[in-house]
């Protein structure tokens, strides 16, 4: 390696070390402030911060860490993927694997990130191994029941690569109900739900959409009203008109649904 390259590498490493040290010195400074004498209620919040740092130190020494599953993709094997997911599910349950616990969100975030990576590796594998579709679908179903949005995103991506199946739809609808505040997942899922609309499962799809529109989370209901344009048909347009009447005047979801209905009618009439 040339001297100039070594010099660049050294500078880079030095910068990284300085950044790392700075962030940790800031945390140390904060901790010092946390524990200064204040009122009892202030101590409650400081105790929460203290708990966070104590839990973090416990992770390395006092816990019996389970080995984090290897994320090497390589030649992905569905059975290996299942093993990994089983371990990750156990980690979520036990909260005692070797993942960071620096705050209440960090552990689950890290576990679910690894979960998502396993599913992403399966996505590439799926197209070339149709004989494994049944097993992969089973993993996607299990994953969809994890309420984490990143895991569900990867699960929905797998479903999109598979044939439709009423069992898949049931799991998707259950998963969406558990992660009912996520407009991005709803938007992604709506593309998958479109595959079931107009068929034998249409009533379930329409029922879910209606519920999302009428009583769903604010951001989800706004999104539901936009995607509704892909689900309006001659058979159900009157139902959507009635739903529109029930929505609060001036609400974003009412505006969006009105636009979806108008779009449907305009397309039929030629604008």
């Amino acid at each position: 390696m040339r001297k100039s390259s070594l010099l660049v590498l050294a500078v880079v490493l030095l910068c990284a070390a300085m950044l790392y040290k700075k962030s940790h010195s800031d945390l140390a400074e904060n901790s010092a402030q946390d524990f200064s004498a204040l009122t009892e209620e202030k101590n409650l919040h400081k105790e929460s911060a203290k708990t966070n740092s104590e839990a973090a130190s416990k992770t390395a020494t006092e816990r019996a860490p389970a080995a984090a599953p290897s994320m090497a993709v390589g030649a992905t094997d569905v059975d290996k993927a299942k093993n990994k997911l089983d371990m990750l599910a156990a980690c979520l349950q036990s909260q005692s694997c070797n993942y960071p616990q620096t705050d209440p969100h960090s552990y689950a975030f890290a576990v679910n990130h690894d979960w998502q990576e396993v599913l992403k590796s399966l996505a590439a594998y799926t197209a070339s191994h149709p004989e494994e579709h049944e097993k992969i679908t089973a993993l996607a179903r299990e994953s969809m029941l994890n309420p984490d949005g990143h895991v569900q995103e990867a699960a929905l991506d797998l479903f999109a690569k598979m044939p439709t199946d009423p069992k898949n739809l049931n799991v998707i609808l259950t998963g969406l109900s558990d992660n009912s505040a996520d407009p991005l997942i709803f938007q992604q899922a709506s593309a998958e739900l479109q595959r079931y609309s107009g068929g034998s499962e249409d009533a379930k799809v329409q029922g879910f959409l209606e519920q999302s529109l009428v009583s769903g989370a604010q951001y989800v209901s706004e999104q539901a009203a936009i995607v509704a344009r892909n689900f309006i048909t001659a058979k159900n347009v009157e139902n959507y008109r009635q739903i529109l009447k029930s929505l609060p005047d001036g609400s974003a979801k009412a505006r969006n649904l009105r636009s979806s209905l108008d779009d449907y009618e305009q397309h039929l009439s030629g604008g």
Binding site: A16, E47, P104, F109, N179, L184, Q218, G250, A252
Partner: protein, 518 residues
């Protein structure tokens, strides 16, 4: 790790995957605080996620001033913020459950207010001694604002400015809180509890704090986070903030309900209604979601509140505050709904209309909403087409929606004085290609039944242009709040206007015609 640090620091506007964001991601001018109401540490410049002017215009009374005398400022700040959070919680629960009982509304409100107290000591905006407007960032900078929306789990929302905008923040956070609230009611740790509502609040908070799987964490004294649950319980039962909030029923002029729907640009709500039966001349009224100016006892209205300034073209305005009226109160009076495009162009002669080209005279930030999170920078000399506009205030601040690099968003176009230094109006034929045709482009009809050629926008049908036909675009125009787009074309010797889809809430153009090029 090194590459991640470098990539974030060298190109902060490149959005990484939904993975661990760096600690204190996009935290400029970081400053500490104190573990007390309004000033929880840390605070970072708010303008990393949105335009400061939005906060000053909409939320001025909820900014904690570090230069003011501390204790009186804390009292003032908490009185204002409590009113906003309380109203937001009460409006929200009735949206989700119109049949909610009084007990549920009270418990829900208590839960939201207590959560805000635990998560951040009710800290959102703070003007620090360096004169900068900052926002609270906790959990090594991952938690944003009063309800600590986490940028690892909610990166797109944070990037768009949802966590930065107070009411959007509360709404988004309550969407998440409600998921736990709803799940809690079926859990044995709630159903069998001696105090049902208290247990439900604790369960919803545990889910909010640790994830939906942790909904009964509070009932497990061996949990790693049991101390957090105990601390929350103390906050919930002692309501320490009442020492600072002298009037728990204090009203706010911040239009919470309007902002929950429209995100930005709602007028302040008037404190009182001068006369609930007779509308006041030259006053603004909010009626069934529309915004109206009363002229000669007629309600002159726009469909969306963001266009209210254009109503000034009809005459002077006596007060900027808006009186809330129901549809029943206004039923006895005549109402005219104005088209925003015709009204606003008559109000502001230099407004660049939808469909026209704009040349960028400087590099301008592209934002998700006019004042919200950055999506990127549009370089100088770029030429794009206008897809939407918004005028704000008597200064004539203008925003234009454009499509650039695969994204749609808003750019600031200056005000009445400075607009000529930001953007210039040019013929659309100079603009970059997009789903919208430019003057001179040929288009192919995609709509299955063809498209009607009309004598004016939405007027009488002259003939129907069949699917697959090719026509040349001679002009563009837009109508209605959805920005319905029309092309002026000639087909079989007849010249008229064809409808080609709406631009809002999303781009509907590709389903109508395909732009073939000049």
């Amino acid at each position: 790790m090194i590459l991640a640090i470098l990539s974030v620091s060298l190109n902060p506007l490149v959005l990484p995957q939904a993975q661990a964001t760096a600690d204190y991601y996009r935290c400029a001018n970081k400053e500490s605080g104190e573990w007390n109401y309004g000033r929880a540490p840390m605070a970072c410049s708010a303008n990393s996620f949105g335009d400061d002017s939005v906060i000053y215009n909409s939320y001025a009374q909820t900014i904690f001033s570090d230069v003011a005398s501390r204790t009186p400022e804390r009292h003032r700040y908490l009185g204002e913020l409590h009113a906003v959070v309380r109203d937001a919680a009460q409006i929200y629960i009735l949206k989700r459950n119109p049949a909610a009982t009084r007990d549920e509304i009270k418990a829900w409100t208590d839960g939201v207010v207590s959560t805000a107290a635990h998560e951040s000591y009710w800290s959102q905006y703070r003007k620090t001694t360096d004169g900068r407007l900052k926002m609270m960032r906790g959990d090594s900078g991952h938690g944003h604002g009063i309800m600590q929306i986490d940028d690892r789990s909610h990166f797109p929302a944070v990037s768009k400015g949802i966590a930065w905008n107070l009411i959007s923040h509360l709404t988004y956070a309550m969407d998440i809180f409600y998921t736990g609230w709803n799940k809690a009611k079926s859990q044995s740790c709630v159903k069998t509890a001696a105090n049902y509502w208290q247990a439900r609040i604790r369960a919803a908070w545990a889910a909010y704090n640790g994830g939906l799987g942790q909904v009964c964490r509070w009932s497990n004294s061996n949990s790693s986070w049991s101390q957090n649950d105990k601390n929350f319980y103390t906050i919930l039962t002692q309501h320490a903030w009442t020492a600072f909030v002298s009037d728990l029923n204090q009203k706010t002029t911040i239009p919470v309900g309007c902002l929950m729907e429209n995100k930005e640009n709602c007028a302040a709500t008037a404190g009182t209604d001068p006369d609930p039966k007779i509308p006041q001349e030259a006053h603004f009224y909010r009626v069934a979601g529309q915004l109206c100016l009363v002229k000669n006892q007629i309600f002159q209205c726009v469909e969306q509140e963001r266009d209210r300034d254009c109503l000034r073209s009809l005459g002077p305005v006596a007060s900027e505050d808006v009186v809330e009226w129901t549809a029943a109160q206004a039923a006895a009076y005549t109402k005219h709904v104005q088209d925003r495009h015709l009204l606003c162009s008559s109000y502001d002669r230099i407004l660049i209309p939808v469909g026209s080209g704009v040349r960028f005279l400087k590099a301008i930030t592209l934002r998700d909403t006019p004042g919200g999170g950055s999506l990127g920078i549009v370089p100088v000399k770029t030429v794009l087409q206008v897809r939407d506009f918004e005028l704000r205030g008597t200064t004539g601040d203008r925003y234009y929606r454009v499509a650039y690099a695969g994204k749609e968003g808003y750019v600031y176009g200056g005000d009445l004085q400075s607009n000529s230094t930001w953007l210039s109006s040019v013929t659309s034929s100079f603009a970059s290609t997009s789903t919208m045709a430019r003057v001179g482009d040929r288009i192919q009809v995609i709509n299955k039944v063809g498209i009607n050629l009309r004598d004016s926008e939405g007027g009488v049908v002259l003939l129907t242009i069949p699917v697959s036909a090719l026509v040349k675009v001679e002009a563009l125009s837009a109508r209605t709040a959805e920005n319905k787009l029309y092309y002026k074309v000639t087909y079989k010797s007849k010249t008229g206007y064809i409808y080609v889809g709406s631009l809002l809430p999303t781009d509907g153009l590709p389903a109508w015609t395909k732009v073939v090029g000049p």
